[in-house]
């Protein structure tokens, strides 16, 4: 019982991180119908920036946790947003209007480029930082097994829920959101109504990157270790989460993330930690077979 609840907590935390990354995936997919494979690496870049900033702050003697967390978030979001913007500008915009496959290949290239760039400039070794937010609650002890709820876990879940609310509001209620949904449905027509489509797409990439930045900072604070290769697997899992929840749906992305996080942590605890990815991607296959539009996705109905 104790272990069950502990795995539930761990799974939800992990899922919340996947959900955050998946939010960015789903927004970008929504607007240009392209899987941005470099998104996971943007998240990795953010985690590296977070380590750098936290180490720097530590050496400057800034120890107040909320302050250093906020500074780290601000710096990471800023630089990661610039990365997001640049990736779109360099790798995707010139290919707009070409075949669907071209930007996909370009995205994979961008992903490899970012990984190698970080490996070259930052080194390949794993970068640890001291726990920023140690400690937590001991919920209860049963048969010698104590269930922990770390402060970072609470922080991560609350952040994800909060950002989901903010972005849902942004998409459904604001002028920018309407503009974005218009681009999603008919880019040509949107532009003929006087909307700058390229700028809307850029802004979407910036927002997606900002979400990845938050996820990167959260992961750094949670695990305390980061290296250049974390982006790839996280990206693939977040992509799975986005597909599972229904690509294009923000609550779907977070729901998908939570489900994947839970599967991963339960599979790891009760079946085999080495094969926990099997569960994740097995689910992806099942969803694609039986409900291709995802759990909360809108099925495509073609009128004849």
């Amino acid at each position: 019982m104790g272990q069950l609840i502990q795995q539930l907590i761990n799974g939800l935390t992990l899922g919340a991180v996947y959900g955050l990354i998946a939010l960015g995936y789903t927004m970008v997919y929504g607007i240009i119908g392209m899987i941005n494979f470099a998104h996971g690496d943007i998240y990795m870049v953010s985690a590296i920036i977070a380590v750098t900033v936290l180490t720097l702050l530590g050496s400057l003697g800034i120890a107040a946790i909320p302050l250093s967390l906020l500074i780290t978030l601000a710096v990471a979001i800023f630089f990661t947003a610039v990365y997001g913007w640049a990736v779109e500008r360099v790798a995707y915009r010139p290919l707009r209007g070409s075949t669907r496959l071209a930007p996909l290949i370009s995205a994979i290239g961008m992903s490899i480029f970012l990984q190698n760039m970080v490996q070259l400039t930052q080194g390949a070794r794993v970068k640890p930082i001291a726990a920023l937010l140690p400690g937590g609650f001991e919920l209860f002890t049963q048969n010698g097994f104590t269930v922990h709820l770390a402060y970072t876990q609470i922080l991560i879940v609350i952040t994800t829920v909060l950002l989901l609310c903010v972005f849902s509001y942004l998409i459904t209620r604001t002028s920018f959101g309407r503009q974005q949904r218009a681009c999603e449905q008919d880019r040509t027509m949107t532009s003929l109504l006087g909307i700058n489509v390229d700028r809307t797409i850029s802004l979407t990439f910036v927002l997606g990157a900002a979400l990845a930045a938050v996820a990167g900072v959260m992961v750094t604070v949670y695990y305390g270790v980061v290296d250049f290769s974390i982006g790839f697997v996280a990206g693939i899992k977040a992509f799975t989460a986005a597909v599972l929840g229904g690509v294009g749906s923000l609550p779907g992305a977070v729901l998908g993330g939570l489900i994947i996080g839970l599967i991963e942590s339960f599979w790891g605890a009760y079946l085999s930690p080495a094969y926990s990815d099997l569960g994740t991607f097995g689910i992806l296959i099942l969803v694609l077979m039986f409900r291709p539009s995802g759990l909360l996705g809108r099925p495509e109905v073609e009128k004849v």
């Binding site: 509001y169 942004l170 209620r173 604001t174 002028s175 920018f176 959101g177 309407r178 503009q179 949904r181 218009a182 449905q185 008919d186 040509t188 027509m189 949107t190 532009s191 003929l192 109504l193 006087g194 909307i195 700058n196 489509v197 802004l203 809108r298």
Partner: protein, 280 residues
């Protein structure tokens, strides 16, 4: 009320000068010159494949004309070369908005949202990238009120108010056509380009369309450029008609002049029948 449309009635609004559009060896438009006045209805007719829709595509930045120029005489921004603008400037700066032969609404948005999207420039400006919207600033609220009022006005005029909250994609064909026109009007165009607005309408709807077009040009001083096959519409509402055939302008004039023009009769009925008619 909507932002007052500048009254450009009578002045030349759109000046097309020796426009040619070639696709490889095919000349879709050949050396077309045409003046479109503000506040009047100008129709472009011609058999299928005459180059009518290609002409619209040249106006709205889809195609770059092979040679020639398309100039919009905007009362505020002066003469603007449409063929050199990014397509979003054609609507935003030059005030030219078009509709499509095959309707292009945002199907998953409500009718109202479709109309609000068209007014996004004013909103975006007031909302400072959505931040003011989040914090409910007064300027944004005003802009939002104004956008809603304008949308409501056109919804009422086009009898769409009852269905404002339904998803646009689920509505009937005739209704979608009206929504597309309403959405275009929300951009406050000086020149409204309608590509076959009467296609697929029943006789009652088509009569309503006539009335609407006349109302827009007479009361709102909109310049209207109309591509249409339905001669009931064209002959009743047009101030001026331009006839294209295989990319060439073969006639231009008032509806009466066009109806009696031998070249037009030939193009529509074919050589033999026109001869028979002459003989008879």
């Amino acid at each position: 009320m909507s932002a007052p449309t500048m009254n450009t009635a009578g002045q030349t609004l759109l000046e097309v000068d020796s426009l040619t559009m070639r696709f490889g060896g095919l000349t879709a438009i050949n050396n077309l010159s045409l003046n479109v006045p503000g506040g009047k209805i100008t129709s472009i007719i011609g058999p299928n494949g005459a180059g009518k829709t290609t002409f619209f595509n040249c106006l709205t930045g889809f195609y770059k004309p092979t040679t020639g120029s398309v100039r919009m005489h905007h009362p505020e921004h002066g003469p603007l070369a449409l063929e050199q603008m990014p397509s979003y400037h054609v609507a935003r700066k030059a005030g030219v908005v078009r509709t499509f032969q095959n309707i292009r609404l945002f199907p998953n948005m409500t009718v109202l949202e479709n109309l609000i999207v068209a007014q996004h420039n004013a909103l975006q400006h007031a909302s400072r990238f959505s931040l003011a919207g989040l914090f409910g600033r007064a300027g944004y609220k005003q802009a939002r009120e104004a956008a809603l009022t304008k949308a409501e006005m056109w919804l009422t005029r086009l009898k769409l108010l009852d269905i404002a909250d339904l998803a646009a994609g689920n509505l009937s064909y005739g209704t979608q056509r009206r929504i597309e026109i309403a959405r275009a009007l929300c951009v406050d165009p000086l020149l409204l380009c309608l590509d076959e607005p009467a296609a697929g309408l029943n006789p009652r709807e088509s009569a309503e369309l006539n009335e609407l077009l006349l109302y827009l040009s007479r009361e709102h001083h909109k310049g209207i450029l109309l591509i249409e096959h339905d001669m009931n519409v064209v002959m009743r509402v047009s101030d001026h008609i331009c006839v294209l055939n295989f990319g060439n302008k073969i006639a231009e004039g008032t509806p009466e002049q066009i109806q009696n023009d031998p070249n037009v009769i030939k193009a529509y009925l074919g050589e033999d029948e026109a001869d028979e008619k002459e003989a008879a």
